[in-house]
């Protein structure tokens, strides 16, 4: 139990620092940045206290916001995906999730990819909509969402594969 808590605390700080010091300054092709800090929300234990989980996600988004001077847009996007995560889990893992026994290291790749993709796209749409903050520029929002999502999903999948605990 203690092990899980400390691992998550470590993951929180590492991801925030990696995000604000490296990932937000990549600017691939001018504006494409990955937002890998949502890995914290993606990999948070399934069996959890939902109130606590939503609150921690808010803190995660807010700390990224303070570093990037972006008001509350990351916090809003994080709180939203934390709230809808059970629905997305059910959608992508189906019966496995119902039993509350699943572990992210031991699920098949296809459903894991669906899960990461849905959460990432939801997060990015809210994030870029709040960043640009105008309905008339909806094409710019969708364009940024598409390209950044691809980047984020790619990195997230890579990181989960590299750091998975399967010892074989």
């Amino acid at each position: 139990m203690n092990n899980i808590v400390s691992a998550n605390i470590l993951r929180f700080f590492t991801l925030v620092l990696v995000q604000v010091l490296i990932c937000s300054h990549i600017n691939f092709l001018g504006y494409i940045n990955p937002y890998i800090y949502i890995l914290f929300i993606i990999l948070f234990p399934v069996k959890n206290n939902r109130v606590l989980f939503i609150f921690i996600s808010f803190l995660l988004g807010l700390s990224v916001d303070i570093f990037l001077d972006s008001g509350g847009m990351h916090a809003a996007a994080c709180v939203f995906i934390a709230y809808v995560r059970p629905v997305v889990l059910k959608f992508s893992f189906g019966i496995q999730y119902e039993h509350l026994t699943m572990k992210f290291d031991a699920v098949d790749f296809g459903s894991k990819l669906t899960y990461i993709t849905v959460l990432t796209v939801l997060h990015h749409i809210i994030l870029f909509y709040l960043e640009i903050f105008s309905i008339s520029k909806i094409m710019l929002v969708l364009q940024k969402t598409l390209f950044s999502s691809i980047f984020t999903i790619l990195l997230c999948v890579l990181i989960t594969i590299i750091f998975s605990r399967k010892t074989k």
Binding site: S24, N27, F67, G71, M73, V79
Partner: protein
């Protein structure tokens, strides 16, 4: 009463979500309006400290190009200095006791730069301890950069000209027709000059400079050159694409500008408004 409490307990997750979501949206709206981001800015002890210590390391990677920029500027200033005409008696008299100047310049270093989002904010390593205040202008050796927004003791945030909220008064170099400089959020190399009257003589390649009307920047700080222009929908004003002299993605050493007369000017303007 019992029912209300039951309702709250039953829906506590949703209510918490709604509360936190509303708070974040409020922060976002605040950050989109000029000078209002009260709590969430990177000019504080923790984030400033982190950016500063990282900049201490990464600053070395960029030393060569930054040195070249500084040498280039020195070269320009030297050529100005030695080419000015001396007075007839051969002495360049300078009164060291009088403080009769309107603008005070200071130096600073950018420790966090951003140019890819639509509202870009920079962080510099000077703050209220170095008497940096809100509404100081910030420029580089090549041109204009932004306006100071929030300050803490050792750090200050700068609203870049690459920010859709920023509006800076600018004019043509060859005539006094002026307009306001804004950014449409698309390319970090180009900004837009709006509200320039149809009567103004505009040509491709013309230089745009600050107008000195905003009392933040002195007149004549270079901004960029015109690459393209067209009339707006009402056909009264030009919409001009301006290519910046600055490479906004590579900025290290900057100058802050304080206008001593700003209090006097704003007081006078307010008096006029109240009448």
């Amino acid at each position: 009463m019992q029912q209300i409490i039951n309702f709250i307990i039953r829906n506590k997750t949703f209510l918490l979500f709604l509360l936190l979501f509303t708070i974040s949206i409020l922060f976002t709206i605040q950050s989109h309006s000029y000078h209002k981001s009260k709590f969430i800015n990177s000019a504080n002890f923790i984030t400033g400290g982190v950016y500063n210590s990282v900049n201490n390391i990464t600053g070395y990677f960029d030393l060569k190009t930054q040195n070249e920029v500084l040498v280039e500027e020195n070269n320009y200033l030297k050529s100005l200095l030695y080419n000015t005409k001396q007075p007839a008696d051969g002495t360049l008299f300078r009164d060291s006791l009088s403080f009769d100047k309107q603008f005070i310049f200071g130096t600073a270093k950018v420790i966090k730069n951003s140019y890819s989002s639509t509202d870009n904010i920079l962080l510099i390593d000077k703050g209220s301890n170095d008497s940096i205040k809100q509404d100081f202008g910030v420029i580089t050796s090549k041109g204009i950069l932004g306006v100071v927004n929030k300050t803490s003791k050792n750090f200050a945030t700068v609203i870049s000209i690459l920010n859709t909220n920023s509006q800076i008064s600018a004019q043509l170099k060859k005539s006094n027709h002026f307009g306001s400089l804004t950014w449409d959020g698309i390319s970090p190399a180009f900004v837009q000059l709006l509200d320039l009257g149809k009567i103004a003589p505009v040509k491709k390649g013309d230089t745009i400079v600050t107008s000195g009307r905003s009392s933040i920047f002195p007149k004549g700080i270079p901004i960029g050159t015109i690459t393209d222009f067209e009339l707006d929908d009402a056909e009264n004003f030009y919409v001009i694409q301006v290519k910046l002299f600055n490479d906004m993605s590579n900025i290290e050493h900057v100058y802050t500008i304080e206008n001593i007369d700003i209090v006097e000017i704003t007081n006078l303007l307010n008096e006029n408004k109240n009448e």
